[in-house]
């Protein structure tokens, strides 16, 4: 497949925006300016980016606890994301949700929630709505390998197949369900083949290769849009940070239990470095351009942190707001 330079630049920039934004949260987490639990997406950027590039603005996505990247890749506003992580009133959820509840309905990001597997059925419903309305939208449900333990995934796969719904089940397999390695939660390491049991087309893809992600996503989106859904895709990836916080299973405790050698192996497969090298090797993006993008993204992230820190706290008197819609 051939890609325009503009498109490649876009992919690169989106991955960089996610990475820089995530990494900019590390110090505020460590020095206590950010208090809510934060699950960093560093290392998995290629998945959100490749899928986001294959979707239209009015397609829907749902995320989980580690969804900053999904939000940004779908076109969510960075200032509002960071302000939400700082639980400020100008955050995307007005300081009521924090890092685990990011949403931007205007770009089709319909929400995220940390109950593992909890949004899979919501995504199923969004796809069902599209099927009832015949509106040609596609929904993507993002979840991790841990969610394969939840019954609702299996119920949802079955129903999606039964009704041929336009939904992509995007499993980001980073091999760890909080502290437990996948070998301790499943007999079969492979997740894509779950689709076979339900008669669902399924793929297993290198989730650290943004072009491979984009290709499989584009093909699956087209298929769903033309009535050939659903699709289950397993993206093999690795989180470079801890389960929650920079390097922890308990934010602030420095308790990452993963072997050092394993982490180093995956660092060498960093999706951004890999893509940058590829762009260099094939002279697709001049070094100057890469430098320029990096600078631009650095400024954007810096300004988002500033925006968040300067935003106001929600007012005490507004605590009852939004329980119900009027």
């Amino acid at each position: 497949m051939r890609y325009s330079n503009g498109f490649l630049e876009q992919l690169y920039q989106t991955m960089l925006r996610i990475r820089y934004c995530e990494e900019s949260l590390v110090n505020p987490i460590l020095d206590g300016r950010i208090k809510c639990p934060v699950h960093l997406y560093s290392g998995e950027e290629a998945i959100a980016t490749g899928i986001g590039a294959a979707l239209n603005k009015d397609d829907y996505i749902f995320g989980g606890h580690r969804s900053h990247g999904h939000y940004l890749a779908k076109g969510g506003d960075m200032n509002k994301l960071v302000a939400e992580i700082f639980t400020k009133v100008e955050g995307c959820s007005r300081g009521r949700g924090g890092s685990m509840h990011v949403i931007d309905p205007e770009v089709g990001m319909l929400g995220s929630a940390p109950i593992v597997g909890g949004t899979i059925s919501l995504a199923l419903g969004a796809a069902l709505a599209s099927s009832i309305r015949n509106d040609s939208r596609v929904t993507v449900s993002f979840f991790g390998d841990g969610a394969t333990g939840e019954g609702v995934l299996h119920e949802s796969l079955n129903f999606a197949a039964l009704k041929k719904l336009p939904i992509i089940f995007a499993c980001e397999n980073n091999f760890y369900s909080t502290h437990l390695n996948i070998r301790e939660i499943r007999v079969k390491e492979d997740i894509a083949s779950l689709g076979i049991a339900f008669g669902i087309r399924n793929y297993k893809v290198d989730g650290n290769d943004v072009l491979k992600v984009y290709n499989v996503a584009k093909q699956s989106v087209d298929l769903c849009r033309s009535g050939g859904g659903p699709v289950l895709i397993e993206f093999v990836t690795y989180r470079l940070r801890g389960h929650v916080g920079p390097d922890d299973n308990i934010q602030g405790s420095h308790t990452d239990i993963r072997p050092k050698e394993e982490l180093e192996k995956w660092l060498s497969k960093d999706p951004i470095t890999r893509f940058e090298e590829k762009l260099n090797d094939k002279s697709l993006l001049p070094k100057e351009k890469i430098k320029e993008i990096k600078h631009k993204v650095e400024l954007e992230v810096k300004s988002a942190i500033q925006f968040a820190e300067q935003s106001l706290e929600p007012k005490e008197g507004d605590i009852t707001k939004y329980v119900f819609s009027e």
Partner: protein, 328 residues
């Protein structure tokens, strides 16, 4: 012309509500186990499939969790979904989407999206169905911030509250008691709403307030008549909505009577009756002439044996006895 006195059974009132709202509003759809089968849902869904087709009347696999989540997810995209659980007991599988997701979605997203879903649960008591086919779980649901809970007691209310629940922009749990399905009354033929959050005085009286909801209103109405024969004037408040609770109507009645018997089809401890007792104690203590009385299920799972069922489910006579115990 339609008759002013057209009568409908409770279940057909729901059926009419569904036909009318689905004709009017294309975003409404019904999903759940057994919507094609009278064995599951009585005649509440009669002719819906024929009229609206399989896209909007969706019978499902036995997957309560995912099906409820799907109804909620569809509602996040502008649909108005109704998810039916023909036995409330099975709805317990769906507590994650109902409680974690639907109830919290608006708040935890700063009001960015609301969830206009109706979660329709049917209580199927009696008939020796035992503990897992007969539970009345209104208190569990009413405990949750972000949910509204309605429990109609007759055909008129069933239609009006069903329409109100569908039109509400928030998640509404609509709870039926199947013992009401064959009760009949005059029901307007047009599309109308009954306001959620408002109770109604069914009988006026000055001696004692009875508060009830759903099927227990039927028993309470009989109790009012029996008490009348004994020269006791009972006032009957039909809650219609469990949450938000219409505290004003209850307190105004207690101000008048000074006595209250709280009747609920659920269990005693930590339930609807306990909540109402707390409200009366906190806000209406000065009106009370005597202690509060409750008529509820005992804290026991539903038994199968008919002889035990006779003791388990409360009747008009239990209400009469409770009222008299605080009058003498």
């Amino acid at each position: 012309m339609f008759s002013q006195n057209r009568k409908l059974t409770y279940s057909l009132a729901i059926n009419e509500a569904l036909h009318q709202i689905m004709s009017k509003d294309k975003s409404v759809f019904l999903i759940g186990q057994g919507v094609k089968s009278p064995w599951y849902v009585g005649n509440t869904c009669m002719d819906l499939l024929e009229k609206f087709g399989e896209k909007r009347i969706i019978d499902t696999p036995v997957s309560e969790n995912a099906m409820t989540g799907a109804a909620i997810g569809a509602s996040l995209t502008g649909m108005r979904a109704i998810i039916v659980h023909p036995r409330m007991d099975f709805m317990l599988y769906a507590f994650d989407p109902i409680i974690n997701q639907a109830a919290n979605w608006s708040y935890m997203n700063g009001g960015k999206l609301s969830v206009p879903v109706v979660i329709w649960g049917i209580i199927n008591r009696g008939g020796e169905q035992a503990a897992q086919h007969s539970q009345a779980l209104q208190a569990l649901l009413a405990h949750i911030p972000g949910l509204k809970v309605v429990m109609p007691s007759n055909a008129f209310d069933a239609k009006g509250l069903f329409i109100a629940a569908i039109n509400d922009p928030n998640p509404v749990v609509f709870i039926d008691d199947r013992w009401l399905y064959n009760t009949e009354m005059v029901v307007p033929e047009d599309l109308f709403e009954i306001e959620i959050g408002k109770a109604i005085i069914r009988k006026n009286g000055t001696d004692v307030t009875l508060v009830a909801s759903s099927y227990m209103v039927v028993e309470a109405l009989k109790a009012v008549e029996e008490l009348k024969e004994q020269n006791i004037k009972a006032e009957l408040v039909d809650l219609r909505t469990i949450k938000p609770l219409d505290e004003d109507t209850i307190l105004n009645s207690v101000r008048k009577t000074g006595r209250i018997v709280i009747i609920d089809g659920g269990w005693r401890s930590f339930g609807v009756s306990a909540e109402i007792a707390a409200v009366v104690s906190e806000k209406g203590f000065k009106y009370l002439k005597t202690s509060i009385k409750r008529v509820t299920l005992p804290d026991i799972p539903a038994p199968a044996s008919n002889s035990l069922e006779q003791v388990y489910y409360k009747k008009a006579s239990d209400i009469v006895e409770a009222a008299k115990s605080i009058l003498t």
